[in-house]
């Protein structure tokens, strides 16, 4: 029987340990402690970030999995995600807005099992959240909440002038003329920002128009419906709005409403929530109603936000556990949603009549039974080419050209050519 010397023992155990570490790529201390990191945006409802941190601490206490949450400004998300994917290193979980799961399809873990469980509990995922998080039949991210575009109006001015709440975009033109005469114009941005697209989409769809066909290839912007849409924008710009909308960014319409200038804007409820929190005099005068419709129905834009897990993450399972913890338990999910004061609402069908809508009578207009939400580019699938059309602001620029003197037909032909060039690109 051979004896084991001290030197022999140390050599063997050190060698085996090192081989194990090299094979797994995880140091022993980390291997024992489960930990996930989550990169999410700076929420426009800051209290929701606080609540997320609080829920995260409870998650660690209940499961023993350490959770590290980092925040990033919405404008920096695209650059940060691109760098994480290129370097194949970074966070485990990432917050993804709208079409991001389509951009990073090959880099995201299949989360169909988690979404399946959530749908069993909370009902089907809403249309736009499904269109954006389910990529080619696979859930690449788990829908968590959405902010929707509704009409925000000055109730006091409407009452004073005896104006009816507009049900269609044509009705809005009628009341908009009166509002402008009163010195409180309609505020719909026509500039290179995303709020412009969030309004232009529903207007175009309600007239029956579209940018790119369902096949994701055929450009359909050159149509009589687009002519109708542009003619509507031209008369709105002339009779109901001020030229300043040509320079607006995503926050300008909120500010115009909060400072008492605009009489009607199209935006998520943030204008009201901020006015309420800052105790602005306009807070009491603001109310909401549903987005107007048109001859082809009522279509609305929203911003669904999801949680994805990078494929390079070594902590996919603890990551899934956190998603289940946050969204799977009704009481935790409710608590999370309530913290946003109706800015971010649930994206599951059974939760549409949510208690948060009863916390303020001015949220009554946000009830969304039967509403079909769509993201930019609908009904085309959000391929990178369709997203390039969106991100190149072709539709806002087509409208800007039309309202500043370019003939309607010429503006449409310009947009058609630009879209066709994008579709023909590599």
């Amino acid at each position: 029987m051979s004896t084991i010397t001290r030197r022999h023992f140390l050599t063997t155990t050190t060698g085996a340990g090192l081989a194990g570490i090299l094979a797994t790529g995880v140091p022993p201390a980390r291997g024992q402690q489960r930990e996930v990191s989550y990169l999410c945006w700076n929420n426009f409802a800051p209290l929701m970030d606080k609540k997320l941190a609080e829920i995260g601490q409870r998650f660690t206490k209940d499961t023993g999995i350490k959770l590290k949450i980092d925040h990033i400004a919405a404008a920096q998300q695209a650059a940060k995600y691109a760098s994480e994917v290129q370097s194949q290193a970074g966070h485990d979980l990432v917050e993804m807005r709208m079409h991001f799961p389509w951009l990073y399809e090959g880099q995201l873990v299949d989360l169909s099992d988690v979404v399946g469980e959530l749908e069993k509990k909370h009902g089907k995922v809403l249309s736009s959240a499904g269109e954006t998080a389910r990529v080619h039949g696979t859930w690449r991210a788990v829908p968590q909440y959405h902010a929707m575009f509704v009409a925000t109006y000055r109730e006091d001015l409407f009452k004073k002038a005896g104006l009816k709440i507009p049900d269609t975009w044509e009705d809005l033109y009628t009341v908009g003329k009166e509002l402008k005469k009163m010195g409180n114009p309609v505020g719909i941005p026509i500039s290179q920002n995303y709020d412009t697209i969030s309004t232009a989409g529903p207007v175009l769809w309600s007239f029956g128009g579209l940018e790119v066909d369902k096949d994701g290839k055929t450009v359909r912007i050159n149509s009589p419906q687009t002519v109708q849409m542009l003619e509507w924008y031209k008369k709105m710009f002339r009779d109901c709005m001020e030229p300043e909308v040509l320079s607006w960014d995503d926050a300008s319409n909120n500010q115009a409403m909060q400072q008492g200038k605009a009489g009607w804007i199209h935006n998520p409820v943030s204008a009201y929530i901020v006015a309420k929190q800052m105790k602005l005099p306009t807070a009491d005068t603001i109310n909401h109603h549903r987005t107007p419709g048109g001859p082809s129905g009522r279509h609305e834009t929203d911003v669904p936000r999801h949680i994805g897990i990078w494929k390079f993450s070594k902590n996919a399972e603890p990551g899934k556990e956190f998603i289940r913890y946050l969204l799977g338990k009704r009481e935790t999910y409710d608590e999370f949603i309530m913290s946003a004061d109706a800015f971010n609402l649930p994206v599951y069908e059974k939760l549409q009549d949510h208690p948060v809508l009863k916390t303020d009578p001015k949220y009554a207009g946000l009830k969304a039974e039967g509403v079909q939400y769509h993201c930019y580019g609908w009904p085309a699938p959000p391929s990178d080419k369709v997203q390039l059309i969106t991100n190149s602001f072709i539709m806002p620029n087509m409208i800007a050209k039309a309202v500043t003197g370019t003939a309607t037909k010429d503006a449409i032909v310009w947009a058609e050519n630009e879209m066709k060039k994008v579709m023909a690109g590599s």
Partner: protein, 313 residues
């Protein structure tokens, strides 16, 4: 005995190693590269590597997180078909030409003024440097408020003085006004660079030359044309060269003020590259946009450096 001999051998080896290293360091052929190598390493890591990656991306159909293929110069050819890109190309030259031109004229004038005997000269010099010291994103945010359609202090002042008709210019919403706004902010931001560098050049011109010119009957204009300007030429060439490169590649000012709008009328290569490369994921096309002017800038740099060398020797 044996132990003693090993000790002596080790000491001898140490001495000879130290002597050899010292000898090597005495040789210029070794010492030069040793001193340069840290900087060279940093340059390779932080400049050459990203640049080569960008070059590769620009000739590929790279998309974030997907395998890419070499496609030659197809990105560069396709880009020319885009109206937004052609507009950006034009904007870049208008923006750079106007901004560098004004910065040169104002910078030269201010430097000559500050080269005179003035009260509070140091305080004024310090104050004039401020725009260059403040982070661009922050200061541009200040300008954004000044040009904002709802709160514009520029319009408020213009209206109060009766030099503008209500509601005043839509600074960021109309193409010519928007371009004017971004050029103005770039001039404000870049002027101190011109001012300080030209001032340094002016200070180094010997007083005797001016005295000799004055003795020959030269007036202020003649002294400027025949003494100041010729001696400042190398400095001006370098300042214009650097400023042209920085201005062509400007990003912050346009990104904060206009996001490239209205109707792409203020987009520059950097802002368009971000929109296409990062927001849409088409890194190949984004890299091609940012490198489009690289050959032209290379020629400009080469020509100007050649000019500077001629002036110097």
């Amino acid at each position: 005995m044996a132990i003693g001999s090993v000790g002596v051998a080790t000491v001898q080896a140490r001495v000879s190693l130290r002597a050899r290293v010292g000898e090597l360091l005495d040789r210029e052929a070794w010492l030069g590269p040793i001193f340069v190598s840290p900087a060279l390493f940093l340059l390779l890591l932080l400049v050459a590597y990203p640049f080569c990656m960008a070059l590769y991306f620009s000739v590929s159909n790279a998309f974030i997180g997907r395998p890419s293929h070499f496609i030659g110069i197809r990105n560069f050819i396709n880009l020319w078909g885009s109206d937004a890109f052609r507009q950006t190309f034009q904007n870049a030259f208008v923006f750079t030409g106007a901004a560098v031109g004004f910065k040169l004229v104002f910078g030269l004038s201010l430097a000559m003024l500050l080269n005179q005997q003035l009260w509070f000269k140091r305080l004024i010099r310090g104050a004039l440097l401020l725009p260059w010291v403040i982070p661009t994103a922050l200061s541009t945010l200040g300008w954004w408020w000044m040009f904002n359609s709802l709160y514009s202090v520029v319009n408020w002042t213009g209206l109060a003085l009766g030099i503008m008709d209500p509601p005043g210019p839509n600074w960021l919403g109309q193409r010519y006004y928007a371009m004017t706004a971004v050029v103005v902010v770039n001039i404000w931001r870049g002027l101190p660079f011109f001012l300080i560098t030209i001032l340094a050049g002016l200070v180094s011109i010997p007083r005797e030359l001016y005295e000799a010119a004055e003795a020959d009957g030269a007036g202020p204009v003649a002294r400027f044309w025949h003494v100041t300007l010729p001696l400042l030429k190398p400095v001006l060439a370098i300042v214009v060269l650097f400023s042209t490169i920085f201005t062509f590649s400007d990003f912050n000012i346009v990104y904060v003020l206009t996001h490239g709008g209205p109707i792409n009328s203020t987009h520059l290569f950097a802002t368009l590259a971000r929109q296409v490369g990062l927001e849409t994921g088409r890194i190949g096309e984004g890299a091609a946009i940012s490198l489009y002017l690289f050959p032209v800038l290379m020629i400009v740099v080469w020509a100007q450096l050649r000019f500077v060398r001629k002036q110097a020797y």
